[in-house]
Symmetry: C2
Subunit: 147 residues, 2 copies
DNA sequence: TAATTATAGTTGTTTAAACAACTACAAAGT
DNA sequence: ACTTTGTAGTTGTTTAAACAACTATAATTA
């Protein structure tokens, strides 16, 4: 294929980190609110890990979400205030907090996934699986380049 | 092509608005800092518009960067404090601020574009133009779906 | 012309990201 | 055992995003 210099570096930057992620995050936040779910998109990213693996350390959450430790400390603070998670001490290693879903947090799983599914289905309407797979592979390359 | 359900909706969400944009933005901020450029990535997004079209309204900047008006007010505040832009009154419509680059702001253009180019070249090393074009078209679809 | 509506921008508040500096604890090396 | 190094988490500060509420001005329309 012979595609020559269609995008400047600035265009590429905007493509990879520009308005689409910004809009999608904003849009998800609005959908949560519309459905009466009192949750930020960032808080959801933490809950999403816990729905997969409950009872992990903050360090694990930081790595899994590519955030730094202070960011996770505050997200967990706020999720704890909302009553969705709780910190428990590790049995033997007193440095670790293990983060567990509360019953209330577990009850949120279905409603949250519902909103996320509707949101992403609307957002990706018209995209082929082929496009999505290409994006996935391309983003993996970018991730490896700068991680 | 027959690719069946490779990604869940949650995976798709993370793909479009997840860690890659987060990491790329963080990485660009670090590169600016390394090069002694006292500028946030968000401030750069405003300067980038002005390097293309100097002397536009804050409303224009808001639409061009998909930010809301308060966000632009504060970005312009901070760029003004840094001495890179100035607000001027519109001749006839007293509601409008027109935002102009200062000499100091204009002097930043080359150093900034240098950092952005290096950053994006490192980040996209190994991507084909074909992949980038597919991402561009796919993101346009997503943008139209949720804008 | 006066009232209404729309547009441009600002301010207040909450939540989050990034980074530096810090405390507490565990593990390794001597 | 003691010191050093590494790991886990917190706190302080600055910058930004989102949203609501607000002021000022312009455009519309009754």
């Amino acid at each position: 294929m012979n595609v020559t210099n269609l995008l400047t570096n600035e265009n590429k930057y905007n493509l990879l980190a520009g308005r689409v992620p910004l809009l999608l995050n904003r849009y998800l936040g609005q959908q949560f609110k519309n459905e009466g779910i009192n949750l930020s998109r960032e808080q959801w990213s933490i809950l999403a890990i816990l729905y997969h693996t409950d009872g992990v350390s903050q360090q694990f959450l930081a790595e899994a979400t590519s955030r730094d430790k202070p960011s996770v400390t505050r997200l967990v603070d706020n999720l704890e205030k909302l009553g969705f998670v709780e910190r428990r001490n590790h049995k033997t290693d007193r440095r670790l907090n293990l983060i567990f879903l509360t019953d209330s947090g577990k009850e949120m799983q279905d409603p949250i996934l519902n909103v996320v599914s509707k949101t992403i289905e609307k957002a990706t309407k018209g995209l082929t699986e082929e496009q999505i797979v290409i994006i996935r592979d391309a983003f993996q390359i970018v991730y490896d380049n700068i991680k």
